[in-house]
Every structure is written in C-alpha cells, then in structure tokens.
Amino acid sequence: MESQNRLWRVLLLALPILVFSVLVIWPLLSSFYYSFTNWNGFNRDYEFLGLRNFAKIWTDRLFFDAIVNTTIWMAAALVLPTLTGLFLALLLDRQVRGARIFKTVFYLPICLSAIVVGQIWIWIYQPDWGLLNTFVKLAGNPDFNYAWLARPDSALFAVIVAWSWQQTGLSMVIYLAGLTSIPSEMLEVCEIEGATVWQRIWRVVIPLLTPSTVVVVALSMINSLKGFDILYIMTGGGPFNSSDTLAMHMYNESFKKYLMGYGSAISVVLFLIALTIIGVYFRQLRKVDEIYG
C-alpha cells in the first residue's frame, strides 16, 4: 500500500513540481546569479562584475528616487484601500436595503484590468474636460486646467487614488468575511450595556477584526509592491521619474536600457523586500492564530 502511495505521489507531483521549478524557482535563483553579471539581453556572453551592480545601486539617484516613491506608494496603497474598505464593510454589515447591489458596485473595479483602470483615470485627470477639472470648474474656477498626471507634484498621488479605487473592493470583502465571524450576541450585550455605536465599533468590532486587518495589510503591501501596469499606462514612471517605483525602475533598466544584469540586482532588492513582508505576515498570522484561535 505504502509503496503504491509513493508511486502515486511521484506520478501526480512530477508535472506540477517540474513546471513550477523550471519556470518559477529556477528563474528566482538565477536572478541572483545574473545580478552579478553585465548581461545585456542579447549577447550570449557576459562578464562577472562581482558586487559592482549592487555598488551602483548606492550611487544611482534614480534608484534612490524609486525607493522613496515605492515607500510613498506602498504606504498610501496600504492606508487608503484599508480604511475605505473597512468603512464600507462596516456600513454594509448592517442589513441595509440593496446590500448585494452595493457590494457588486464596490467590488466591480477588481475585475477590470489595471490597463483599463488606468485608461479610465487618465480621462478623469484629463486637464481640459476630465471629470475632476470639470468639477473644479463648476465649483467656480472656470480656467482651471491643471494637468494632474503631467506634474511631478501630483502624478504619483493621482495614480495612488486610481489604484485605491480598484483595491478597495478587495479589503472590503475580506473585512466583510471577518465581520461574519463576530458573534452577534456580543454586539447585543454591548447594546444592552448601553455602549454607543462608536464605542461598539472602536472597542469591540475593530479589535475583533485584527485577523482580517493583518490579511488586508499584508495583501495591500504585496499587491502594491507588484503594482506596475497602472503606473506604466498612466505615467510610465514620469514626469521626471516622480512616479518611478522599484518595479517600474527594474523594468526600465532591464528592458528599455537592456541593462539586464543591473535590472536583476534591482529585482533582488525587490525580492528581499517581499520576503521581509511575507516573513512578518506569517509571524503575525501565527500570533493572531494564538490569540484568536
């Protein structure tokens, strides 16, 4: 019996593990390898540079900009969708009329591609007739034609808003799933004891939602670290690299300048950041499991 099981394990796992190893694990490891080289994307040959690519990172002003932008991007992409998602989930948790339709509306953007979302928001930010400036004009500023995406001051934040619009639905459903696990008796007790709505939310509901918050926060960070398409279409990292994130920078160095060795070095940094987040996430998840069972 056991020998048969062993045979079946091998038979069933062979293909998935082979595909995963060849197309995910191996490239991941060889990314480290190429980060020590100066491969240009076309030639067969390349030289070993040792740690020179990583030394270059320290002096690359664009890399520094990308780190700053990535930090802003991740922090905002963390706070905005999480708060709006929580707010919407709290509103929707009470049995409102039409809750199903509302949920569909808030969740809908998640099934759109980042390219389409970017396209939509390019129109909103369009200086002459975009929705945003149309409103500003109606509010009594008829000559207003600020180009939101073409100014270094606003480009990154404009994309963040578009990104948050799409991501809010995800944190909303995770919070909604979390809310269903709060026993209604507990809330009834609060009501009987005379707690106000705010006290109930701040002192009972939000603390009990901690497991969901851990998931939402980790997921938002990971997703924003991956975020590339929407920046590519809305700003391309510009103007003047003001919205250039690590993922964008890596793409530009590797596939625009064909510095694939240097690009690999940037991707190694990206990998280490992701690894840190995931490590903290799993640890928090275990802690939460211990507390909340």
Binding site: V24, L88, C111, V116, W123, L225, F228, S267
Partner: protein, 284 residues
Amino acid sequence: MADVATSVPARFNPWPATVFVALCILAALFLAPTAGVLLSSVKTTRAIALGDLWSVPDRIYLENYAEVLFNPAVHRYFLNTILVTVPATFASIALGVLAGHVFAKLPFRGSNILFLIVVSGMFFPPQVILVPLFRLFNGLGLIDTLWPIILVHTALGIPICTLLMRNFFAAVPNALREAALIEGANEWQVLTRVSLPLSLPALAVLATLQFTWIWNDFLWPLIFTQSDEMRTIMIGIVNLRGQYTVAWGVQGALSLVASLPTLVIFLFFQRYFIKGMTMGAIKG
C-alpha cells in the same frame, strides 16, 4: 399595550436611513469613472473635444463600437488573448488539482514545507523572475510567440490552484477514498471519480479567478511579444492609443469591449470570484 405607538412614540432610529444614503453617494462616486467611459464611448470625438463628455447624450452614437469591432487588429488581439487565456487557465487548474490531491490525501515527510514553498510563489513580484525567463525563452527561440505567456501563466497559477484544491480536497472525507480503494480503484480513479466531482465549486472559483487574471495581464505579453501580430488585447489598448490619439470615444469603446469577457464572468460568477479572493487571501 396596543397603543404603545401613541403613548410612547417609538424612538426614531436614524441609522438605517443615514447608512443607506451614505452608501448611495459612495456608490455613485465609485461608478462615476466607469460611467464616464460608457458615456464617452457613445459620443462623437467632436462632442467630447467640446467638453461635453460627462452629460447624458440625447442620441446614442455607435460608430465608435463599429470602429472597434470591425478593426482587424482588434480581432487579432482578441484571438491571441483567448489562445493564451483558455489553455493557461485550464493547465494551471489541472496542475493544481494534481498537486492539491497529493498534499491533501497523500502527505509525506516534508510535504508541508514543499506546500509552503509552492504557495509562497503567490506573493512574489513577477519582476523577480523577469530577466532569467526572458533569457530562457530567448534561447529557445520562443520570443514573440504565445508560448512563453501560456507557460508562465500556467506556472504562476500553480500556487493559488494548489492552495485552493488542497483545502477543498482536505474536506472530502477520507472514508470515501478508502472505500473506493477497497473496491479496487486506484489513486487516479479516486481523484477523478470521487474527489473531483465533489469539488466543482472549487474548480469554478479557480476558473473565474485564473481567467480574469490572465485575460487582464499586461506584463508578460509586454515582455515576451514584439510584433503586433502576437499582442494581446491589453497591449492592444495601449498600441491603439497612438492610432486613436484624440478619438477618446473609440478608446472608451475599446476599453469596454476588452473588459467585456471578464465583466460577464464577474457578474455571473461573482459568488465564486469573491470566495476565491477571500479564500486565497485568508488561508494563504
């Protein structure tokens, strides 16, 4: 106590009404961007340029859609996207089913570690494997074909598919498997005749998720294809921007047409879609 209402007026509870109104406003705000695209797609370029984008048109102008639907380049993009999305969705789920069965029903020493390694593949930015994969497929002469996109999406789908299938298979009672084995079935028959028929909801979840993600993907076709012949629809949207620079209506129509398959799937299989999103996120 029949006259409670008159003696003690029932305290008016303002919450449901407030919440409802707040939700209506938020929903309107949320729908505005999409509504704008819908509006622009049924207007002439002239009307939009004159600043008349955000009003309801008195006449629906369908030329933009005709322009998109009769454009042979768009046909090509759609065909390519289908040729990528359908096989990659199918293959990633099939591989997830195989691995999920082993992790759920045939655990072995170290299988938990292996499972964790596979699942963590879900979390890494794709940029990390970009350069080596480009070199690999370049060496194989597969750049500017659809093969690398299909293969990479198949591989990147394995984590989520394995995770969901393992969780689902784990819930299938062991007694069923043992009974089948006693009746003389082999492991393959247990998987295909016992476990899989019970796991149709999980398959539906994965089919909707994978289809949507692969259809919407932009990065991999951007890296692996070069000629217009091989581009998928999301790249097509970007490419056609040049052709329709000021034809905002055409761009709007194109965005909507390109999103139609995923919108339809979302609206019809929303339940599965949401379940997949939360399961993938929470059990991860």
